[in-house]
Amino acid sequence: MGTIRYEKEMTCKCDTKNLAEIRKMIRNAATEFFGDSMVVGKVTLAVDEAVANVMEHAYTGMAEVGYVHVLVRVEDLDFIVKVIDEGKKFDTTSMASIDIREAVKNGQKNGYGIYLIRQVMDEIHYNYVKDIKNELCMIKKIENATADEAEEVD
């Protein structure tokens, strides 16, 4: 285990009105490590997509609306975000890739979330604790992010 340089977490009810507050937490954390680069917006977007997915689907058909827990941690040069829910088992990472050009051309209105997460984050891992929780772990490498940004500027 590396050195933990930053850690914050938030738990909220699965109501999409809470997305703005979660984005604020992620944006603040990302700004500390990625400065004012476009990476901040991209990482915030990826997390927003993952959390929205949980809010909209994880507890469908269940008696009560559940909670989503978001943890952001910077460990060495890894910017790590974990999105945890106690809803139905669902492995986001197992979703098939979409043909983005065809989807957009055909007017597909949704199903872009996992595509964006894959585009933005360097690693995505799914972990399921039987009968307890789904955990989606997304990692953005801080070195990579800086290098990517430098290339874009060049």
Binding site: K42, L116, Q119
Partner: protein, 116 residues
């Protein structure tokens, strides 16, 4: 700032100009979707959407534009996006939305382009 403010600035000769302010995410996208669907049902199929005051958009928001564009094009209409902020433009780029949308700098330029 409110979550999403939406104002139909003008609606003349089958061309509408809409101005948005706030954020377009999984919580607010339906408000825009409803307005666009209403316009399309009224046969207003040429629409300019000013995004200069939209601070954030997620795939839910972009999906509204993508779906509405397909509907508009089916009846020879068009949707033009006006002056998106850098953050919003970045999401459009990630999704490749620019392949189907014209993006212009001003409402006037958009209306001119929509007037045929």
């Amino acid at each position: 700032m409110a979550e999403l403010e939406l104002d139909i600035v003008s609606k003349d000769n089958g061309i509408a100009v809409i101005r948005l302010e706030g954020f377009l995410d999984a919580h607010t996208f339906e408000k825009l979707d409803n307005v666009l669907q209403d316009l399309l049902e009224e046969k207003v199929v040429n629409i300019a959407v000013n995004l200069s005051d939209v601070e954030y958009i997620s795939s839910a928001g972009a999906g509204v534009f993508i779906g509405a564009m397909a509907q508009a094009q089916e009846v020879d209409g068009n949707i033009i996006l006006v002056n998106p902020t850098a953050n919003v433009h970045e999401v459009f780029d990630l999704l490749g939305v620019s392949q189907i949308f014209t993006i212009l700098d001003t409402d006037e330029a958009a209306v001119k382009a929509l007037t045929r």
